[in-house]
């Protein structure tokens, strides 16, 4: 056990903290609204200019070659500074890990720098109507166009976060018409302005137009925009849902910062009855940090984090709900006013649903970590 940071890590932290202190903008509208998205894009470009947009990437793609530890430190500082949400996160945190693992060098060169620079803005096309958590229930299809050297995509995706504002989409389509479930799927990339694509935004619980439905009518995608092998899309996609569920999407810094803000709220609005719940949220945020440090030590040692990432997902999403509920209770009657807290509360309720519902995650934990029988 050695829970101290190296001098190099400490200076990385100092650099990040100082840059953020100097550059983090004031409150801006939510990045999941049309006006807010533009403001967030400006912020993303400022991040990129200072090489903070994707710290763990190689320098040649716009990153800093940061270690996993440094990435954790950056996230801690980012949330501590109250910096804006990352509207680029679906690209940087979900698609990019897939490209690093399955993409061709050409795809990496072509796509990653533009992604880091927030020039291409990626959304994911996972869920389809009638199939939310059941990612394998893909009915959207891709038909081979041998002459043109590509595929024609048709069908519909939904629950596409920020789909109305993004420029590109990655997703699974059924390339083998006789296949079922997770067989015969292929992982495609496409621009949303391609002929045949229609995007329709709709509102989330918190009133932001943060979701979209995307319709595909014989949209041509050339072979160079297939990731991994044809019909192997499920295996390719699982790499990103793993990282979505686990470490990369929800680093501890976020919850430590939320817990700290909750503590500050409780100091302003002291409540004998709610004190223990405030403390509990603080305890849980620390526990999530310690769990993560243990997990990252394993990853650094080359132990892959498989179904264990379901433990992360369950813990952070439910900790977040309890934390935000406590904040709402501290606010009492004023909780119904639109505020960062009331928005945070509503946003937290999505945590146990997206990226695999917590019901599915608990199945995974029970079956794959505890070895309980599937049937």
């Amino acid at each position: 056990m050695d829970l101290t940071w190296q001098p190099s890590e400490q200076s990385f932290r100092t650099e990040a903290r100082e840059w953020l202190a100097a550059h983090v903008p004031g409150p801006m509208p939510s990045g999941d609204t049309r006006e807010g998205f533009a403001a967030h894009l400006e912020w993303e470009r400022a991040l990129f200019a200072a090489r903070w947009s994707a710290v763990s990437w190689p320098k040649r793609f716009g990153g800093r070659d940061a270690t996993l530890w440094e990435w954790l430190i950056f996230e801690e500082e980012y949330y501590r500074a109250g910096a804006p949400q990352r509207v680029t996160q679906n690209g940087i945190f979900l698609l990019a890990p897939t490209l690093f693992e399955f993409g061709t060098p050409q795809q990496q060169e072509r796509l990653l720098p533009r992604m880091a620079a927030a020039e291409d803005l990626w959304c994911q096309g996972w869920s389809e109507p009638g199939a939310g958590s059941d990612l394998a229930a893909v009915r959207s299809r891709a038909v081979r166009d041998e002459a043109a050297g590509g595929w024609l995509l048709s069908g519909q995706k939904t629950w596409t976060t920020r789909g109305a504002f993004c420029t590109h989409l990655f997703g699974l389509f059924r390339t083998d018409p006789d296949s079922a479930r997770h067989h015969g799927l292929t992982y495609f990339l496409l621009p949303l302005d391609a002929p045949g694509v229609t995007v329709r935004g709709f509102e989330r619980l918190d009133g932001d137009e943060g979701f979209a439905e995307v319709f595909f009518d014989r949209v041509f995608v050339p072979d160079q925009d297939v990731v991994g092998d044809v019909d192997q899309g499920w295996r390719v996609a699982m790499a990103t849902t793993g990282s979505e569920r686990g470490l990369t999407l929800r680093s501890p810094g976020r919850f430590m910062a939320s817990a700290q803000r909750l503590v500050e709220l409780a100091r302003q609005r002291p409540s004998d009855q709610l004190r223990d719940r405030v403390v509990q949220s603080w305890i849980e945020a620390q526990a999530y940090q310690q769990f993560t440090l243990q997990q990252v030590t394993g990853i650094v040692d080359g132990k892959p984090s498989g179904p264990e990432s379901s433990l992360n997902k369950i813990f952070w999403s439910e900790l977040d709900v309890r934390l935000q509920e406590t904040a709402m209770d501290l606010l009492g009657e004023h909780g119904e006013l639109d505020s960062p807290w009331s928005r945070g509360f509503q946003f937290a309720l999505a945590g146990p649903i997206y990226a695999g519902t917590n019901e599915v995650q608990r199945n995974v934990v029970a079956e794959r970590l505890l070895g309980l029988p599937r049937v």
Partner: protein, 331 residues
């Protein structure tokens, strides 16, 4: 001993529920949100008033039905179930009976449903429906005063439930007249507000549970209806338990108020705790069981969940009511 909604109360509830089902579909609820036509819920409220519901607590001689809190609870549960964005508790349980006692000439408009009443009897400066209600009742120390809305300085607020038409009440107040100055009358108005809000919460919980059961029965995932998975079954069973044990507590508190039994306030506090907690549990469960569908504003669930989040902390949040009970139990 008979623990059941009486015939008159049931008739009133059913009449109101029937009108609401016909006149206040979800489109009317949505019309109460910013950008919608507030005339739509107002019109539906007039049709509710046609049943006599607004005068439930008003003596027959004053044009009301002459009923008591036993009738108000089921009526307000039906209004909660429907979700019509109007100050139903404030108008039925507080405004109408107090205007009747005061012999106000505004009573008739209230009974006819032309005039809605907003009220803030606590210490907050937030006034639900303050952007819309024609009359406003405010507490000043131990007195309740009634104002024309136009005589107050009211600043609209953006709220999670956009149909609450919430306003912040400024210090400047013109006109107004005293509506109640007897401590007992002021206190019982407060407790009727708590009771009525509890009834709304039970109705909202029942509505969300019904929506969710309908959804999970037809929605398929992994090749089976979502509602056939045991995790969903158990979550919804727990939600039903919460609702089924909150409802009698609210009815019993209504009876206790009507019968003026000594611990009516304590029973009402217990009812508010149970109803608030049940409704919040159901909201949370309903959203989770709907998956991403529960997380959109195109689907109706959010209309009811957001109302619950507004009402549960109002009229004394569960912590406040628990603290009162603790005091009375001497713990």
């Amino acid at each position: 001993m008979r623990f059941e909604v009486g015939a008159e109360a049931a008739a009133l509830r059913d009449a109101a529920a029937q009108v609401l089902a016909g006149q206040a579909p979800v489109a009317v609820l949505r019309a109460g949100w910013p950008g919608g036509d507030p005339g739509a819920p107002a019109a539906a409220w007039r049709r509710v008033a046609d049943t006599g519901a607004v005068g439930a607590l008003v003596p027959v001689a004053a044009g009301g039905l002459g009923l008591d809190e036993n009738a108000v609870v089921p009526l307000l549960e039906a209004l909660g179930y429907n979700g019509l964005p109007v100050p139903a508790v404030e108008t039925i349980a507080i405004g109408a009976p107090l205007l009747a006692i005061a012999g106000s000439d505004r009573l008739q408009g209230v009974l006819d449903g032309d005039c809605q009443v907003a009220a803030q009897l606590g210490d907050s400066d937030l006034l639900p429906f303050g952007q819309r209600a024609e009359l406003v009742i405010l507490r000043q120390q131990d007195t309740l005063r009634v104002y024309e809305r136009t005589d107050l300085e009211l600043t609209p607020c953006v709220t999670v439930d956009g149909s609450r038409a919430l306003a912040r009440v400024g210090q400047l107040r013109r006109g107004g007249s005293t509506l109640a100055a007897t401590p007992g009358v002021v206190a019982s108005a407060w407790w009727r507000g708590v009771l009525g809000t509890s009834a709304l919460l039970v109705g909202l919980a029942a509505r969300m549970l019904e929506l969710t059961v309908g959804y999970v029965r037809q929605r398929e995932q992994f090749g089976a209806p979502v509602g056939s998975f045991q995790a969903i079954k158990h979550a919804l069973a727990s939600a039903l338990v919460a609702v089924e044990f909150a409802r009698p507590a609210v009815l019993a508190a209504g009876w206790a108020q009507a019968a003026r039994v000594p611990d009516a306030a304590r029973q009402t506090s217990a009812a508010k705790v149970l109803a608030s907690d049940a409704a919040r549990l159901v909201a949370r469960t309903a959203i989770q069981c709907h998956g991403a569908m529960g997380y959109t504003t195109e689907y109706d669930l959010h209309l009811f969940a957001k109302r619950v989040w507004a009402l549960a902390p109002s009229w004394g949040d569960p912590a406040w009511h628990r603290a009162r009970i603790a005091e009375s139990l001497g713990v």
